[in-house]
Amino acid sequence: MMEGTAGAGGLKKNAIGYLSNVVIGVASTAPGYSIAATLGFVVAIAGVGLAAPAVMLVSFIPMFCIAYAYRYMNQADPDCGTTFSWATRGLGPSAGWLGGWAIVVTDVIVMASLSQIAAIYTFLLFDWNSAAESQVAVMIAGVIWIFLMTLICYLGTELSARTQQILLAIEIFTLTLFAIWALAKVYINNPAGSLHVQASWFSPFSVDSFGALINGVLLGTFIYWGWDSGVAVNEESEDSATGPGKAAVVSTLLLLGIYLIVSAAAQAYGGPDLLIDNADDVLSVLGTQVFPSPLDKLLIITVLTSASASTQTTILPTARATLSMARQKAFPPSFGKIHPRHLTPSYSTVWMGVVSTIWFISIELLSPDNVLGDSVTALGFGIAFYYGITGIACVLFYRRELRKDFKTFFYAGVLPLVGAISLFGIFGKSLIDYSKPANTNTAILGIGSPVAIGVGSLLLGVVVMFFARFRYREFFSRKPEVFDPATAGQAIVPEEAI
């Protein structure tokens, strides 16, 4: 009897931990916002067109491989959980510092896209279409959005796990309902311009060229961005041997399922042209056409809650990364300041809000049309870069362990390496393609703006690092380390791989 009671209690505890692992994994990628921000631009890539769901499928592969690098590095160095500290260990201080820089700049760049989406969808929620189309109105609303979100992070207000679960349930329900509703209409009513779903949409081989697929995958990395943080958090939850592994698989399948069904339904309903024409707000345009009023508002609210969750999971880790860099004496010490009441990294948070606002305003002013698509593409470069170095850092850090058994060899060696090589490959190929202004929506100084923003921000990091080297000599004299079972302390090899 006693055993039975204990077992039941334990089961319940694990069940809750398991569910919240799934929630964290899915919520930190913000599926509603990710689709709203990327789907139109993926379809718009010449040569991709109707094969957008296939791009969603292929993009997942490198992210899946890199997730193992996160898992292993997190196990050896569970303390710091950032590419900054892992790359410092595996590759040395310069790579680590640049990795930290890449995290910060990608987070700043994504704020422009987030606040633009949030502003447009806020106006659409109240049917204020003229404001949604006015650049000045969007800019003002976007700045207010950044301010509010920074304030929330500064005050340390957090939604309870329960609220997050409810919001995510609504998000998944709404997206699924939208997909089913759209497909039902396609097959029953045959609205003008609609297409029937075809198997070829899901096949990478139906993308016209390999180059087009690569360019699509660069955008696709964005929609899975954040999935890794779910995996990292998973490690610390109870029953970490099997629960998190299973949760990661479930959240992954859930995410893939949502992306495939929603992208297929969206293009079946409106055809590619509708998605391309409304790339800034695909879901709101489709929502009003697919759903009867007032149900269409549900989709808009979903994107808004998704964007707010995403903004929080952008500001919080950035502040954490700069705090970490300050503590390891690689960044100005004031970034390590903590607010004594709110217990938040106050200086880092405010700084993040201010830089994001400046970035958002200047990108809106400098490159008024279609900044959204280009900055999402630009993000792909930063993400590919720091995920890539995390993969390499993992392989080097574990290099002496790889020959010990096949599991370590495969999960800490092969997968991270494959992930890193493919991400660097995507980086290189996209760099060539997107440098040509002809292949992009906008250009800055004659270079396609995705490259100017994405690669330019990384190069700026190299310049800043040159000065940082003089200032933070102690940090920059650190040597790369190798995994040492004696100092790792914790479980060295996961008992149960994902």
Binding site: T82, L316, R320, S324, P340
Partner: protein, 137 residues
Amino acid sequence: MANVIVVGYDGADGAQAALAESLDLCRDLEAELVAVFGYGVPIPERESADYRETLRELGEKFTDEAVRRAEEAGVKASAEVVFEKAAQALVDAAAKHDARMIVVGSHGEGPLAGALLGSVPHRLVHLAEQPVLVVRR
């Protein structure tokens, strides 16, 4: 039950009042003081030990200050810095030391934040097994 009084201390005005009151009580009851600081943070932040470390250092700074003031007042005192939210940290510390009561300030974070977050004393009176003394600033 041990002759121990647990006080929540985060350096704020409310906590100052709570500390002063609990020191008076400790002297009158010849009790020991345990100064507690809880620093539980939202899930995404838990990944970073650098952040946790910074918070712990902050907590130690506060509780050291409380312990020093207690010793100046002739009260035997110790500190607990716990990775839990404030209310839970106090409940845990009270259970650990088998305390006779818990003393907290009425609000540390301002009335608005208190309303939004659900204030520590409010949670505490529901969670704690011991009597809770709420001291107004």
